[in-house]
Amino acid sequence: MKLLVVEDEALLRHHLYTRLGEQGHVVDAVGDAEEALYRVEQYHHDLAIVDLGLPDISGLDLIRQLRSRGKTFPILILTARGNWQDKVEGLASGADDYVVKPFQFEELEARLNALLRRSAGFIQSTIEAGPLLLDMNRKQALLQGASMGLTAFEYRILEYLMRHHQQVVPKERLIEQLYPDDDERDPNVIEVLVGRLRRKLDGAAGFKPIETVRGQGYLFTERCR
């Protein structure tokens, strides 16, 4: 998933960047609200983590601006005070959950995954589509009960397509799921990865859920639950 992290403390930002990256997310980590507003116009994020105590434009104002610009991705706030005034204001201005500093990474991760799951309309941490079962906690895909042996990149592509099932997903969106920066973008990589995924899905059961929509992107045709 592509996440936006807005935190002014460089060390904490770096920590979140590495830890979330290790969990298979592509992280856009910025130090202030202005940069964050620039990034959301450039990329398509799946979730934002916003520190309330930002310099210049406060976290609350950033959240309000994001919502007023029509950004609907879930927002998790990091608050230092942890008082209810801040929490209520943050949630009322458009955030979806909060974590009080200092936090254990596991706690942040659990909240984050719950938000991602909810925003895609899934209640559980597994997604089922016919013989395919995606376990988002273990980051594993099982086809007819057997592990598909996906690489990290293949898994990310599959998870993204299944989360956005029955929607056309442009290639650029998928690239954003893999690389944080523009200069590494190469559409051919996506084609190669999708080709490999198709082969692995097809191999066992003749299951062909991924369609190419010419000039637009890819479509996961199977209904996911």
Binding site: E9, L11, L12, H15, L16, R19, D51, G53, L78, A80, R81, G82, N83, W84, Q85, K87, V88, L91, A92, A95, D96, D97, Y98, V99, V100, K101, P102, F103, Q104, F105, E107, A110, R111, A114, R118, I123
Partner: protein
């Protein structure tokens, strides 16, 4: 007596208006009492003068009627003034000769003796009060006349009039005077009351504005006050402004402090997690993390305590329904998967006498516990009776075992270690309640779970 006086002089026993009213009434009564003898003697003087004039005129009539022949006085049998002729008339006339011998008396004076002797001292005429044998009082006017050309006064013409007429007149006048003074006093007091009420209207306006400031519906006092009060209201406004600014600054400093302390702790926490990945470091990082957790709890707890400083000037009242709505909206978002049903058992317009921030903190902590632990139902009840405010938050969760109820009220205790939270929730609740002289109780709910009851 001394008790009553002490009550009168006690500070704060009366309003300013009553004091002024009381003082002015006493002054008005003293003034009128002083006026009374002056008015009375002025009236008496005027009365005697009119009596003297009347008697002098009557004496003149007698002199005009008198004839002297060879040193002898002769009076006509019928006098021109009718009052001397009618037997029961009020006017009496006597004429004495030089030796004090009564030479004539009017028909009306028959049988009346006042035992008067003219003095012939050359003073001409005089007015006296005399008494007859029965003790009736008369006004007597004596004029010495020189009816024998050139010689000293030969006769003394005396006219008398009983003072019963003038007494009645005097009594009537005094009655009128008392009546008018009483009416004037009443009118004066009425006008005074009106004037004081009008004068103090501005003070009452000020009081109303202060009430509004205290209740939070007004930020500062207006400048629509008399010039004498403007200095006072100006000072109060400056005080209010400076308090507001100070609170604002205080809040910002606390925010900054929290941010600047907790963010490094987050970094430490993160780093310790990285170090903990190596098995040989596990023991040390456990200690490190426990210390980080402890520091963070202390900072959080102390900051929350500090931010709940009560304002000295403003008496707060918050609409409970509004605070509950805000919190439930927020918590519904966070616990969106749970679909919690919240039942509100309180009056929609119930106002809680507490600062909004404090009430948010109080109910936020209790409601979050309830949301976290409930199966799907929460009930919030509240009522204010006889100055005691009661709020209860109940859920249908597992409840709190009896032997642990004491423990969770202590600072930093947390029963559900697997659930996220700061673990200082109930301690903060207790602290807030302490500053409001209240208490927190834990019991069983009819819903099956825990019931937290607040009383203050």
């Amino acid at each position: 007596m001394s008790g009553g006086w002490r009550w009168l002089t006690r500070r704060g026993a009366f309003s300013l208006r009553l004091r002024l009213m009381f003082g002015s009434a006493v002054l008005a009564v003293i003034f009128m009492l002083a006026l009374l003898p002056v008015l009375r003697s002025a009236f008496l003087i005027a009365l005697e003068q009119s009596v003297e004039k009347r008697l002098a005129a009557d004496a003149g009539a007698l002199i005009a009627a008198a004839r002297t022949e060879n040193g002898r006085l002769s009076m006509p049998s019928k006098l021109p003034d009718e009052e001397f002729n009618i037997p029961d008339a009020q006017l009496l006339g006597f004429i004495y000769d030089r030796d004090g011998k009564l030479v004539w008396q009017s028909r009306t004076a028959k049988g009346i003796s006042v035992g008067y002797l003219p003095r012939y001292d050359g003073s001409g005429n005089r007015l006296l009060r005399v008494y007859d044998r029965e003790g009736n009082a008369f006004y007597l006017y004596d004029v010495e006349v020189d009816l024998l050309r050139g010689e000293s006064a030969a006769f003394s013409i005396v006219t008398l009039q009983p003072d019963s007429d003038t007494r009645a007149l005097y009594n009537g006048f005094m009655k009128q005077l008392y009546l008018w003074l009483a009416l004037a006093l009443l009118l004066l007091l009425g006008l005074l009351w009106f004037g004081l009420t009008w004068g103090f209207r501005s003070l009452r306006g000020l009081r109303r504005e202060l009430d509004e400031v205290e209740s939070g519906s007004r930020e500062r006092l207006s400048d629509q006050h008399p010039s004498e009060l403007l200095r006072l209201t100006g000072s109060l406004n400056r005080l209010l402004d400076s308090e507001r600014q100070q609170r604002e600054r205080y809040r910002h400093s606390l925010d900054d402090l929290a941010h600047s302390l907790k963010t490094p702790l987050s970094v430490l926490q993160g780093t310790s997690e990285v170090i903990a990945a190596r098995p040989e470091n596990r023991e040390q990082t456990r200690v490190l993390q426990a210390q980080i957790e402890r520091m963070s709890q202390q900072i959080g707890y102390q900051l929350q305590r500090a931010s709940l400083r009560k304002s000295g000037l403003i008496r707060h009242r918050v609409l409970l329904a509004h605070v509950v709505d805000n919190l439930c909206e927020a918590l519904d978002k966070v616990y969106g998967d749970k679909q919690v049903r919240v039942q509100r058992d309180f009056d929609l317009w119930l106002e809680i006498p507490m600062e909004r921030v404090a009430l948010l903190e109080l109910l936020g902590n209790l409601l979050e516990n309830a949301y976290r632990l409930c199966l799907g139902q929460i009930s919030i009840g509240a009522r204010i009776a006889q100055g005691v405010c009661e709020i209860s938050v109940e859920d249908d969760g597992p409840g709190v075992p009896e032997d642990q109820r004491e423990r969770i009220l202590r600072r930093g205790e947390r029963l559900d270690a697997q659930h996220p939270g700061q673990g200082i929730g109930t301690a903060v609740v207790n602290d807030i309640l302490e500053s409001y002289g209240g208490e927190l109780q834990v019991g069983e709910s009819s819903l099956g779970g825990a019931a937290f009851r607040i009383r203050f």
